[in-house]
């Protein structure tokens, strides 16, 4: 599972990074003829605007990658800060932080995302900020619980006994030990952000200027010509597959990384 997942994610990142060289046509072709059938120049034909469907598929991966990278970084930053602070400080800070996390976890994320995105206006920045702001509590909780267990370990207390300051302990001991746990969690967050971005774009709340798989699916479904010339097979299906593969790739890696680091599942075995 790890292998397949890594290959999918690797391919996805490769396509996104090298899109300008890989894509045979620009994302928007102002002079293109619309609804062309597949040919050597247009592998999957062209869409309602005369843009090459295959190229848009490739360009779409870029938008997804941008969202994944920024949203995940944000989740990492907030989750790590809150989790570490709560776990290390304990007491009131811990209780307060965890209550906030509970409230966040109790909120239905997607309606909230839709609501905020609709209010703030569609843009990529808003999508990223929203995904980041609403998916960190899970990470914070995992970081906190791991910090709590790590804190009790001998090497940390001896480092502290030797006079190591909190920053030193965090940098030298906590972060390296937390690394794998956080990595597994972040892979899930990445997969989730792919799906959320596409979902928002599907509802018309993504960046209207960016090429997004979610928006493409929405456009394809709403297109009255979708059943002519097998357009659905050339437009809806590949876009859907690209999206699904990206999500599956992250899920596979996350699933295969997690069990070995999840204390609960280890205990249950």
């Amino acid at each position: 599972m790890l292998g397949v997942g890594t290959v999918i994610i690797g391919a996805f990142c490769f396509v996104a990074l090298f899109a300008p060289w890989l894509a045979p046509h620009p994302a928007i072709d102002p002079f293109g003829e619309n609804y062309q059938r597949p040919s050597a120049t247009h592998l999957l034909g062209t869409n309602d605007n005369g843009s090459d469907i295959f190229s848009r598929l490739i360009w779409g991966s870029q938008t997804t990658l941008i969202v994944v990278v920024f949203a995940t970084t944000m989740v990492l930053a907030i989750g790590l800060t809150v989790g570490l602070t709560a776990g290390l400080r304990g007491g009131f800070v811990d209780t307060a932080a965890m209550r906030i996390v509970d409230v966040f976890l109790g909120l239905p994320i997607l309606p909230l995302l839709i609501f905020v995105a609709a209010l703030a206006g569609p843009s990529l920045t808003v999508s990223i900020l929203m995904i980041g702001l609403f998916t960190w509590p899970q990470t914070a909780r995992i970081v906190r619980s791991q910090t709590l267990t790590l804190r009790q370990r001998g090497f940390i207390s001896s480092a502290r006994g030797f006079g190591a300051g909190p920053w030193y302990v965090i940098r030298r001991h906590l972060i390296p030990s937390l690394g794998p746990v956080i990595a597994a969690n972040l892979v899930f967050v990445a997969g989730l952000s792919v799906a959320i971005e596409a979902g928002l774009a599907f509802l018309g709340l993504g960046d209207p200027t960016a090429v997004s798989w979610g928006a493409e699916i929405s456009r394809a479904v709403g297109n009255p010509q979708i059943l002519i010339d097998l357009l659905w097979l050339r437009w809806l299906v590949p876009t859907g597959l690209a999206l699904t593969f990206a999500v599956v790739g992250f899920t596979l890696v996350g699933v295969s990384l997690e069990p070995s680091f999840n204390p609960r599942s280890n205990r249950a075995r």
Binding site: D102, L105, P137, Q138, F188, G199, G240
Partner: protein
């Protein structure tokens, strides 16, 4: 399919579902029974509801711009630009008052079921939502029933035959389904089954001007309900299947099964009467928790099938930048989720005496 919309369940409800992904089910962890006393759930519920109401109040006010300009900008009559009208509108929306005063007024309105007026239809948002809640509920309940019919037997079978061929196939199938975004599956189903082959009606919950009465009306509603309901059911089923399966697997090594075998009970009886019955409990929780997933799924399903529910209403309101309608729909959807979650939490306590503290 649930991947898109796994809204994390409330912290106090279930620990088995709180990984962002689904791995808990693959690791076959027995569901945890550690719980907090009921009052913690209640307090947490009240805080969440207040947070939602406050967010609903604050978010539009945090956004740049002014609601009246927004009203004017969305194509209101040019004549409304004059000072008098502006003053009247300002007074009507209480924008001349301080934020705390507005908040109190807003809370007061909510307690009377006053969600404000839609800026597109000028009708009461409360009434408009009221007419749609029923359809959403119908869709949701149908989806849940279908999901139980699909997931429970499949999960029992899969878990009972752990690691055998049937299990691997079923697990593969449901994991694949889980990773497919619901809007993609629904969009594909709509394009092919409805548009191309015309097997199902084109949307809406009834035939417009169909004039059906009595049994014919019920049939008509059913005809419109079946495909969205089925898709929703599949969406829920993936999650329920995984829980049912892992719960079943955790019963496999039980002493009572060994004793049953020793008594010479038939496999069927052991599988359904013994193991499955004990394994069913976590599924009850999950079915309840599905409500929060359901809420997000119905927004997509109702949008694609133009189903006249709350999700569709919210979507329509977004398209028209109709803020009062959007806020109303948002509030109804989210408060339903947290209320159902609380309910599930409390019911679960009754069902499983081990969880009461």
């Amino acid at each position: 399919m649930s991947q898109t919309q796994i809204p994390a369940p409330p912290a106090e409800t279930v620990t088995a579902v709180d990984a962002v992904g689904t791995t808990e089910f693959l690791t076959e962890a027995a569901p945890s029974h550690r719980r907090r006393p009921p009052w913690v759930s209640l307090v947490s519920y009240v805080v969440t509801v207040l947070a939602l109401i406050t967010l609903n109040f604050a978010l539009p006010r945090l956004m740049p711009g002014n609601p009246i300009d927004a009203l004017l900008a969305q194509g209101a009559d040019g004549a409304v630009q004059n000072e008098q009208t502006r003053a009247a509108l300002t007074e009507y929306y209480q924008l001349d008052q301080s934020i705390p005063e507005q908040y109190v007024h807003y809370l007061g309105g909510l307690t009377r079921g006053d969600f404000g007026k839609s800026t597109t239809t000028n009708g009461s948002v409360g009434n408009e939502l009221g007419g749609r809640v029923g359809w959403s509920l119908l869709l949701m309940v149908t989806g849940m029933l279908i999901s139980i019919v699909i997931a429970v037997p499949a999960g029992i079978h899969s878990g009972w035959n752990r690691s055998k061929r049937a299990d691997r196939n079923l697990l593969g199938l449901f994991l694949t389904l889980q990773n497919l975004p619901i809007y993609l599956v629904a969009a594909a189903a709509f394009t092919l089954l409805v548009s191309k082959f015309g097997l199902f009606p084109l949307g809406d919950a009834t035939t417009l001007y169909g004039g059906y009465t009595g049994f014919a009306y019920v049939l008509d509603v059913g005809r419109h309900l079946i495909l969205p309901g089925l898709l929703l059911g599949l969406d829920f089923a993936t999650y329920e299947f995984l829980v049912m399966r892992s719960s079943m697997v955790s019963e496999l090594g039980s002493d009572y099964l060994l004793a049953g075998r020793a008594k010479g009970l038939r496999q069927r009886r052991l599988k359904y009467r013994y193991a499955a019955r004990n394994a069913l409990l976590p599924v009850v929780t999950v079915v309840g928790l599905q409500f929060s997933v359901a809420i997000t799924s119905i927004i997509f399903i109702e949008r694609i099938f133009s189903y006249p529910g709350v999700g569709g209403y919210m979507f329509q309101a977004i398209g028209q930048r109709d803020y009062p309608a959007m806020q109303g729909a948002f509030l109804v959807l989210t408060i339903t989720v947290v209320t159902v979650n609380l309910f599930v939490d409390l019911v679960y306590r009754r069902l499983d005496p081990r969880t009461s503290v």
